[in-house]
Assembly symmetry: C3
Homo-oligomer: 207 residues x 3
């Protein structure tokens, strides 16, 4: 197991946990039952990576190949009621935005790195990173019947993921090992997303 | 053609017919036109099996490989207006629940059995059964723009499919041939679902 | 590069451009931001072809294999604000129907021709043409949270695509080269769709 493999695994764990959390929180907000919440967590956490594997023709899918992922999700589902009932977390519309920013960074870096290692070009690899980071949340929003936030909210979101993906190739061309470049890009994307949330930056209207 | 192949085929036919019927009924309720109804029947009937084949990397897809399925669906579509116009069936929100329960049993058993025969583990196979049984209905609900019932209605639904999938491995470990275990599981899931509908059992709220 | 390859490429370019335009227009109407509009254009333009490649097991996907498509889309996205701000195009609910008719013809012919060349039967090939033509618009409608127009509006839409796909095999059986038959079918579908829009033809209610 080399450096890149370790980095990819760590980014995957962080992204899966962060997006599973956002799926659970939205499920609770919508009054879903235990299995509905588990299902939402499942598709939000694994949706992006599954589409990534589909696009790159990697089989079997990562969660079919390695049961570790399913046990991780079952563990989360068992802990969830205790976490969500506690008074420490207030469940509001904005609660999910913080873990979502973490997942955005982890998955955009992860998707781009895997695509680059599969021999894809700089642009295709960055777009696969965007898809890996964005698809889970879009499916989650569709399942709870709201307009996908990534599309309509005029915030810096997918554009930050795109910038992060492109930056991996940039750092790589400057001599940095791609695995470290991915770690750096994940941090930059998460921090950039959080900063834009705090500052309330908006994209300009188009027309 | 051995026993398992026959059982899989029969479960597929039952599941496809049952879910196609639910898609048609919802299409009629939404005022869709003939081709809209045919399309809803198509995705509801074939959605789960197509995602199953995708996850297990089985190609070509079952309805691409064998045209029998398409002719079956065309036959249903031609008969549909006569069935749905008759006074014997009253089209209400609850009408679809009975064929849906039959499809749930057939597809959860079918998906789990195929996955077990492909060498997947007990847990992964049962989850692929849940996906095979659940995806068609979730796509159907999304296309008619309502919250997926499987997620929000607090009824015993996907959890019964999961139990059925796990029971196939359990019966198998007790010495029963897997094909018979799948038939038994399909019956148990359908009966369990119908019983929970009649009794009005609900899952407890999570938070 | 033979005749069929050229025809397929031209139909692809026309279909991608036409459907990308419909995605952009709907994005503007929903008040999406620049990246939301780009994403809607992307899934509307590439959704159908990606599902087609998935069903026929063609890898890598056409837009992963050939970056030309991505640069085309980026070009459209850069030009979009100028086009959409101009006074020449009025953005109404009906604006998208004209490019949509062009995309319907191009993609139904393209999908059917590729499927026939992959050895699929007449019926399966025509249905893959319908899927190629219809999936992009259905995903677009789902993402902007409305009932898919192809299913509920009672207009002649998917049925025309189906007729066009079947006509390719019919023309072929009469001795016409399949590539020319596809060009003819694309023209017939687009003209048939536009004629049915102008005349306001409706499918009869089913029940």
């Amino acid at each position: 197991m080399n450096l890149a493999t370790n980095v990819l695994l760590i980014l995957d764990v962080i992204g899966v946990l962060a997006f599973a959390l956002t799926g659970m929180v939205e499920g609770v907000r919508k009054g879903a039952d235990l299995f509905g919440i588990g299902f939402l967590a499942f598709v939000t956490a694994f949706g992006g990576g599954t589409v990534r594997d589909l696009l790159l023709d990697r089989r079997p899918f990562f969660w079919v190949e390695n049961e570790f992922w399913l046990w991780l999700l079952i563990g989360i589902a068992i802990l969830a009621p205790f976490i969500l009932r506690s008074r420490f977390i207030e469940i509001t519309e904005k609660t999910v935005r913080w873990p979502d920013a973490v997942g955005l960074g982890a998955f955009s870096a992860n998707g781009t790195l895997i695509a680059l290692e599969s021999g894809e070009s700089v642009l295709v690899a960055a777009l696969i990173g965007v898809v890996t980071a964005g698809v889970g949340g879009i499916i989650r929003d569709l399942l709870i019947n709201r307009l996908p936030q990534a599309i309509v909210d005029h915030e810096f979101y997918l554009v930050i993921a795109l910038g992060g993906g492109l930056s991996i190739s940039l750092f790589g061309s400057m001599g940095m090992p791609l695995a470290w470049a991915a770690v750096l890009a994940a941090l930059l994307v998460t921090m950039g997303r959080m900063l834009s949330m705090i500052r309330g930056w908006k994209l300009p209207p188009i027309a």
